[in-house]
Symmetry: none
Subunit: 230 residues, 2 copies
DNA sequence: ATCAACCTTGACGCATTCTTTGCGCCCCAG
DNA sequence: CTGGGGCGCAAAGAATGCGTCAAGGTTGAT
């Protein structure tokens, strides 16, 4: 399970617990940063925004509850509370201040990891709109892998599609034969310029383009091809 | 805090616990519906989609875990698990299947209410999914796992069903072989494109679809499959 | 133990796609 | 005017992918 690259901030004053958490989280593939006091935890979070915070309520300098409030003022990442005492009032306060979960010691590693996964699941950012390349009346919906000329849907083969997308992603620029061949066919095919002639012809025909007065794909003699800019 | 008008579904077979929960939640301003078995809980949720579910794992008819899985297939609302036993493995399983929190009996009312508030906070607004997928004269009732073509009911095997639902949930988009295999068979099977050929053929036959002029499942050669958009 | 339902695996013919080849055109230099 | 390089285009040949059928193999119920 690749949970890697997520950054977790541990705020706890007891070295053995920090060591235990660090080892468990690292083994699960997370990156870990640590703070041993409330103020340093807030500072660290500001300098290096984590994807999740594990916060122990029993801190020496300022109240853990206060750390929670300060973090929540600006940090959207999930916050998991650890506590030695099983006091219901404290739980209610922490959860209502914006904590996402509350674990009472002692707890098992696998439960902790499962609750971390659950919390991470919640913080998924709103789905970004489907990216669409659009030039003139030609539209390419990358997430649906759909190509439209006006209202009409165009069927492209895998290589035709890849070539079109490469051209459109750099529209306006001249792309050399060499670059296009490496990008679409792979590094080994950088000499086979005749591939381009064949597939550019195919694309132009399907898009309804005329090489003499091109709307979309222009030929740059001796150099490569250029897709029309917006 | 105006928590009013939120609807909570309680699934629990023990009348005293239901009574206790009903009273506590009603006092906090929630509307409550109850089911005393797994199947009736799923049915009730489909008829009257709740904003949150409280699910007891110890049910008489079907496994609570199974109820969780069935609900999660289409219900976006938070699900809180109650359990009498404090088994870590069970917690991990439930959380990874999509549960949002896990409480072990006995628990305090105020903690329960705080965890409900936290869970509600997480549920993104405007994601009221219908338990029925419908495209053309094909209808899939996710809550009952039933598939209808016109008026006729179609019997699908587990994998056929999962494949169909995956395709329909992303209808209009091209889904790559790799994506479908990981989604339906699991992460290990992402190479076995052979499976897809066999099961797509089975689905098309049962749905009365012709690969050449497909109504539902279109082939995108070299890439994957696409389910017809609405 | 027997049977049925289901998933996996392999084989084969056919369709689509990719590669290769050849020819004619245009433009420009000689 | 003439010849050659680069390009567009069409079509043949090779490779790959797809649909289909059917034979194991596994699992779970009776």
């Amino acid at each position: 399970m690749p949970e890697g690259s997520h950054l977790i901030l541990i705020v706890d004053d007891e070295p053995p617990i920090r060591r235990f958490l660090r080892a468990s989280l690292a083994a699960a593939g997370y990156r870990v940063v640590e703070a041993e006091s409330g103020v340093s935890g807030v500072k660290l979070a500001a300098r290096q925004p984590p994807d999740l915070v594990i916060l122990d309520l029993g801190l020496p300098d300022i109240d853990g509850q206060e750390v929670l409030v300060r973090l929540r003022e600006w940090l959207a990442a999930p916050i998991l509370i650890l506590s030695a005492r099983d006091q219901e009032a404290q739980k209610v306060r922490a959860l209502d201040e914006g904590a996402d979960d509350y674990l009472t010691k002692p707890f098992g590693v696998s439960e902790l990891l499962a609750r971390i996964r659950t919390a991470m699941r919640h913080s998924r950012p709103g789905r970004t709109e489907s990216p669409v390349l659009s030039i003139g009346d030609l539209r390419v919906d990358l997430s649906a892998r759909r190509v439209l000329v006006g209202e009409e849907r165009i069927a492209l083969t895998p290589i035709e599609y890849k070539l079109l997308v490469t051209l459109m992603k750099h529209s306006g620029k001249v792309l050399t034969h060499r670059f296009l061949l490496r990008e679409v066919w792979g590094p080994h095919a950088s000499q086979e310029t005749h591939y381009l002639r064949v597939f550019v012809a195919g694309l132009r025909r399907k898009l309804g383009d005329d090489p003499a007065r091109s709307r979309y794909i222009a030929t740059e003699q001796g150099v490569g091809y250029r897709f029309a800019a917006e």
